[in-house]
């Protein structure tokens, strides 16, 4: 194995540790100093990720800026980091959302401030590692590592049932990952010489092609729980409602994307035939998720739970796009993952702003907020519309390309039925989001306490403006985003080399004519 070291990705991943060290060693640090240390650390990490973006060559389908060194040579385990078109958007999403989440915690976190920010920075290391690791063992370490800070973030700074939610989150996710661990070990040990590097395994995928269905399931369950794909979603409403605002923002914004990212990074290239074979069934689960999540969201009384269930619906679109196995669908899926990070992250942030002032998430406690908080309400409306997929905003670009890809999917027979069912999600999104908006923001003020609400402050306004920047940017000029992904995704799909995908049998029948 040849060693290679550019250092940039390693710096990007581990830079937050600098902040952690400072916080650990700094005696008598004040709360304000802690917050600024965390913000600056995260901001520098964001700058590093921009440098990575600037050095990224969009036309190159392979891994770039690779850092590779032997770690446990006898087991073929290496420290192997790299970036390509599939991960670049997720990397940027991680640095952006992490910074925003840290800023948004400023006034929300009042106890054990130091530990809180240490966990936030550690979480960022873990998430970045997940998106950059190119060795499966390393990936698994990062993957499991993210659980620990998140577990404490929910369990210590969460709401009323935080302990229950934290444990459920931990165990549910861990249980899924164990199957993945088995699959990873099996694959690595099949190879000769032993290797866990993903590109090497993809190249040698014929050696375990015989059991690829089982291996596929091992990975799939882990990722499906993370996404979550219906019916593996039961941990999500608990974790989301009990997590502190920043925890929910990160959970929805980034952690769920680790699941969809994993599906693209592992399932598609390692087990192409199984992917094609399972695709229609997974697509059905995705579509059930789209509709189920939306209808259940509509029934909620707790606004945070509503947003949580809306995530299930939105992530259904992402999974549908991925398993359409078309360029538009997969790229739309990745972009929609990014979009969902922005829109749902912003929605949780919005709920947090209200919660901080009123300490309730029950929608019936609100109503008429527009009159008291006009600026905040207008900004919220834009985010709601983005989540609804209003064209010109970010959500639409992702949804449209996913739906377009799904209608061209060779393995769905007939594809238009899948698309037609999925498109009902567009209607249902309007149903539950506008209902939420009406109950919270429209009408007269009915609860006296709401008259005292203060409109959005400058710090929160800044955070919202960053969210809005991406809402409009992706909505109006997404071609740059697609450009980053296109080569890698197209190469990935071409390399899958599955006859069904190449031949595209005539299954497109409509109305029986």
């Amino acid at each position: 194995m040849e060693s290679e070291f550019n250092g940039l990705l390693t710096l990007l991943t581990f830079f937050p540790l600098v902040g952690v060290l400072i916080l650990l060693l700094w005696r008598g640090v004040s709360d304000t100093q802690i917050k600024w240390t965390a913000i600056i650390t995260s901001a520098v990490t964001l700058v590093i990720s921009v440098v990575v973006l600037a050095s990224f060559r969009a036309g190159d389908p392979g891994l770039q800026m690779v850092d590779r060194a032997a770690w446990i040579p006898s087991w073929g385990i290496s420290y192997y980091m790299g970036i390509d078109g599939i991960s670049i958007l997720m990397v940027l999403l991680t640095t952006i959302i992490s910074l925003l989440a840290i800023i948004s915690s400023w006034s929300a976190i009042e106890t054990q401030v130091k530990q809180y920010y240490i966990f936030m920075l550690l979480l960022q290391v873990g998430m970045m590692g997940v998106f950059l690791a190119q060795d499966m063992f390393l990936f698994y370490v990062f993957w499991e590592f993210t659980l620990i800070p998140m577990y404490f973030l929910i369990g210590i700074w969460g709401g009323g049932r935080r302990v229950y939610a934290a444990i459920k989150f931990f165990l549910y996710t861990m249980a899924g990952s164990l199957l993945m661990l088995l699959a990873i070990l099996y694959m690595g040990l099949q190879t000769d010489p032993i290797t866990f590097a993903i590109p090497d395994l993809v190249a040698q995928r014929a050696t375990f092609a015989g059991v690829q269905n089982l291996l596929f399931i091992g990975f799939f369950v882990a990722f499906a729980i993370k996404v979550p794909i219906f019916p593996f979603h039961s941990w999500l409403p608990d974790a989301h409602t009990e997590a502190p605002t920043a925890g929910s923002v990160i959970l929805a914004g980034i952690l769920l994307k680790m699941g969809t990212y994993g599906l693209i990074r592992f399932n598609l290239p390692l087990f192409p035939q199984a992917s094609a074979d399972f695709a229609p069934y997974i697509a059905v689960l995705a579509i059930i998720g789209i509709i189920y999540g939306a209808i259940v969201a509509f029934a909620q009384q707790d606004v945070k739970k509503l947003v949580a269930y809306s995530s299930i619906s939105h992530l259904g679109f992402v999974v549908l796009g991925i398993f359409s196995l078309t360029a538009a669908g997969v790229q739309g899926g990745i972009l929609q993952g990014f979009n969902h990070g922005i829109s749902s992250g912003a929605l949780f942030f919005i709920v947090g702003i209200l919660y901080e002032q009123r300490h309730t998430r029950e929608m019936k406690e609100y109503g008429g907020i527009w009159k008291v908080m006009p600026v905040f309400s207008v900004l919220t409306l834009i985010i709601v519309l983005s989540s609804m997929g209003l064209p010109g905003l970010n959500g639409f670009v992702g949804e449209f390309t996913i739906l377009l890809g799904s209608m061209g999917a060779a393995t769905f027979a007939p594809a238009w039925i899948y698309t037609a069912f999925a498109v009902t999600g567009v209607i249902l999104a309007a149903v539950y989001l506008l209902w939420m908006f009406q109950r919270v923001f429209l009408g007269p003020v009915t609860v006296e306490a709401n008259n005292k609400l203060r409109d959005i402050n400058t710090r929160d306004l800044f955070v919202m403006c960053v969210f809005l920047l991406f809402v409009f940017w992706v909505g109006i000029a997404p071609s740059g985003f697609f450009n980053l992904m296109d080569t890698s995704v197209t190469t990935l799909l071409a390399d899958m080399n599955v006859p069904e995908l190449a031949q595209r049998v005539a299954t497109f029948a409509l109305l029986g004519q």
Partner: protein
């Protein structure tokens, strides 16, 4: 390319500047100094609208100079995925059709801006209103200017958003029973529209897969190409999937029709439009009468090639074409809404159902292949219906003022039931509001199709078209009868409204004290009344042997962008229904006669009824009218059946299935308790028996780990974690043993 075309983006820039001004600083101006602030806010928005209008006029000149050839103005790439061959630009298509729409939108839009300055006077959210109005212009212009279906769709949903915002403009106003009626109406509009929009997304996607592009010109060229080559099957782009061409065309055009039924309020998605009257009246006038609701007609006219090819293919195979379905939907809506209008007392609701009915005329015309007639009626309707709505606004204003005066003069007057929009409280306003009356009369006569007002010409052209082609297309006779009946209804309910509002004795004190609105509101009425009178000249048919220089102006103008004309000339399409170019005297006489009789009948029936506000309506004697149509059957189906059912299902799914069953029962009882049982078993039975040292060691490590993460008070979590861990360890050892030994 004429340089003036480069100005095209300005039609979007001006309105968006207006949005930013009123959205960001307008409110401060108004709050700071009401009078100057209102002037700044209102006139700034108006000047932005007028500037856009001027640019459109320049584009019009550019088209003339360009010999009516369409030009595309590229802005930038939007959705580009090379790997999928997908490339959708932000680009504008400046051709005669889009410019005709732009003229209506910015022209009528500007007039309504001026009127709003007076109408919204004193409203606490004055600047927000104008921000919305400008935003509407922005999206409406995107809709008509886009050079592809997806950009059109941006405008399409954008105007829907503005409609939502304006219907819910006074969202804090509640109904008497405490429901949020305005906010509910807004939401209803958005959701009904979204049903259509979902169909449109499907249609656009299918268009891409069949034709490889969503740009109008590429799609139409490709469609004509396939049609000419007589290929029965088409291969979807970059796949081997094959699909029958006729099926593809049928599906795309029907999906676009569903989209149009949402936006243009056709059966069975029309239910939102009458409720939309909850918004400020000038907004109803602009959005829910003159412009936005005609988007569906624009969509079908724009896609005329697809609809005509579908007709041609179905003539060949003898099946029903999507064009026929379009025409049937339009004609049935025209009659259905016309009948409901009989039973409405709210002055704006009568107009709203009338709008639904007139939109039905336009849709029917487009479905019959009378694209120019559809556009002609769209334009004349924009003038006279905007006029009627603003006249109604003026009447409501007058009634409110009268009511104020009464409330101040008389004390203890019981006014609980008073509604300034209810025609039963009006009467005799002719003398008190002369300008409003005369202009309203022009609008009503134009709508009723009375010679020589604008509506007569455009409606007659549609009827003449249906009549002229019924020999070749049997269905057209049915359509003709439906539309003629709808025209009779129109004249009747307008007669009823005129009689109830302007003639007779006031039936309420407020009506006795009403007075004329301010000049800023009446001036736009006069302006529109002029258009409502003369707009027929835009497409005057040849009358007998008389032919004027301006005859058929609109047809000559539009034939440059409605490709069906070209296809006919080139002989590619043999079966296209022709619109008569000269006035068919029999049809004109029939429609005029019916309208006059019907209107006269209305004046007779309502001559002295209702005498008081409490009296029943004379038409209640007609069997079935009030008991069926008066009860809004389709609305009732949605609101009394579908919506409650959905609410119940959602509650069941959310609480019973998702929470009680899946979350609590399955996860807590089945999975967790099973593990707890298993953990107890392994801890107390297996562990106690003493396995060998390694397992013990591992066990204590896990126990230590489990303790580490234990924050739970219950203790269950620990055993749960422990058992998961133990299970995995056992599996791992079993699994890895051979490799470790190797």
């Amino acid at each position: 390319m004429n340089e003036l075309f480069n100005l095209a983006p300005l039609i979007l820039v001006f309105p968006i500047i207006g949005v930013l001004f009123n959205g960001l600083v307008g409110r401060r101006f108004v709050d700071h100094d009401r009078k100057t602030g209102e002037r700044w806010s209102g006139w700034f928005a108006t000047i932005m609208a007028l500037s856009a209008f001027v640019v459109v006029v320049l584009l019009n000149l550019a088209l003339h100079a360009n010999h009516f050839h369409a030009e595309t103005v590229m802005l930038w790439d939007w959705i580009v995925i090379p790997g999928q061959g997908l490339s959708i630009p932000w680009a504008m298509q400046i051709d005669t059709l889009s410019v005709a729409m732009m003229l209506v939108v910015t022209g009528v839009g500007s007039i309504i801006h001026i009127y709003s300055i007076g109408y919204m006077h004193g409203d606490p959210d004055y600047s927000r209103y104008f921000a919305y109005l400008n935003l509407f212009l922005f999206f409406m212009l995107i809709l008509v200017a886009g050079n592809n279906y997806l950009v059109l769709f941006v405008g399409w949903e954008g105007v829907g958003l503005c409609s939502y915002l304006l219907i819910g403009f006074w969202h804090e106003r509640l109904a008497k029973d405490g429901t949020m009626k305005n906010a509910n109406a807004a939401r209803k509009a958005m959701i009904a529209n979204r049903v259509g929009d979902a169909a449109m997304i499907l249609g656009i996607i299918l268009t891409f897969w069949v034709f490889g592009s969503v740009e109008f010109n590429h799609v139409f060229e490709e469609a004509i190409h396939i049609f000419e080559s007589h290929e029965e099957m088409v291969t979807l782009v970059s796949t081997n999937i094959e699909m029958a061409f006729s099926t593809a065309l049928f599906a795309i055009t029907v999906l676009f029709l569903i989209a149009a039924t949402g936006k243009s309020a056709q059966l069975v998605l029309h239910v939102w439009l009458p409720d939309a009257m909850a918004g400020p009246t000038p907004a109803s006038s602009l959005i829910h009468a003159a412009t936005m609701v005609t988007s569906g007609i624009y969509l079908i006219v724009r896609s005329n090639v697809l609809y005509e090819l579908s007709r041609a293919l179905s003539v060949h195979s003898g099946t029903i074409s999507s064009s026929d379905i379009v025409a049937l939907v339009g004609a049935s809506t025209a009659l259905y809404a016309g009948l409901i209008a009989f039973t409405q007392y709210d002055i704006k609701k009568v107009l709203a159902y009338s709008t639904v009915s007139q939109l039905g005329f336009m849709i029917a015309a487009a479905g019959m292949g009378a694209y120019v007639a559809a556009m002609f009626h769209l334009i004349t309707h924009a003038f006279f219906k905007a006029l009627l709505f603003m006249g109604a606004g003026s009447v409501i204003h007058g009634m409110e003022h009268g009511h104020h005066e009464v409330a101040h003069g008389h004390h203890g007057h019981d006014d609980d039931g008073f509604d300034p929009q209810d025609m039963r409280y009006m009467g005799g306003l002719r003398k008190l509001m002369p300008v409003t009356f005369w202009t309203y009369l022009v609008g009503a006569l134009a709508l009723a199709g009375i010679f020589p007002f604008a509506g007569f010409w455009s409606k007659d052209e549609i009827l003449a078209h249906a009549n002229a082609n019924q020999g070749e297309y049997g269905l057209f006779l049915v359509l003709f009868i439906l539309l003629a009946l709808a025209a009779v209804c129109t004249a009747f309910y307008m007669g009823r409204q005129l009689r109830m509002v302007f003639w007779g004795q006031p039936r309420h004190e407020a009506a006795r004290h009403a007075h004329e609105s301010s000049p800023i509101m009446t001036f736009p009425l006069v302006l529109l009344a002029v258009f409502g009178t003369v707009a027929g000249l835009f497409n005057l048919p040849k009358v007998l042997t008389l032919e004027f220089g301006w005859s058929l102006t609109l047809e000559h103008w539009l034939e440059h962008s409605i490709q069906t004309f070209e296809l006919m000339e080139e002989g590619i399409l043999a079966h296209v229904p022709h619109t008569p170019t000269s006035l068919i005297v029999e049809v004109a006489a029939l429609s005029l006669g019916l309208a006059l009789v019907s209107m006269g009948l209305a004046f007779y029936v309502y001559r002295d009824k209702p005498k008081t506000a409490a009296d029943p309506d004379p038409t209640q004697k007609i069997p079935g009218l009030w008991s069926v149509f008066g009860r809004l059957p389709i609305d009732s189906f949605y609101m009394k059946l579908l919506v409650p059912w959905f609410n119940r299902f959602s509650a069941w799914l959310g609480f019973k299935f998702e929470w009680s069953f899946w979350h609590d029962f399955f996860h807590e009882r089945v999975i967790r308790d099973t593990f707890v049982w298993f953990a107890d078993l392994s801890a107390n039975v297996l562990d106690a028996q003493g396995v060998d040292g390694i397992v013990n060691g591992l066990g204590s490590v896990t126990r230590w780990l489990a303790d580490g993460i234990r924050v739970s008070q219950t203790g269950y979590a620990r055993t749960y974690a422990l058992s998961v861990f133990l299970g995995t360890v056992v599996l791992l050892i079993y699994f890895l043993w051979p490799y470790v030994m190797r």
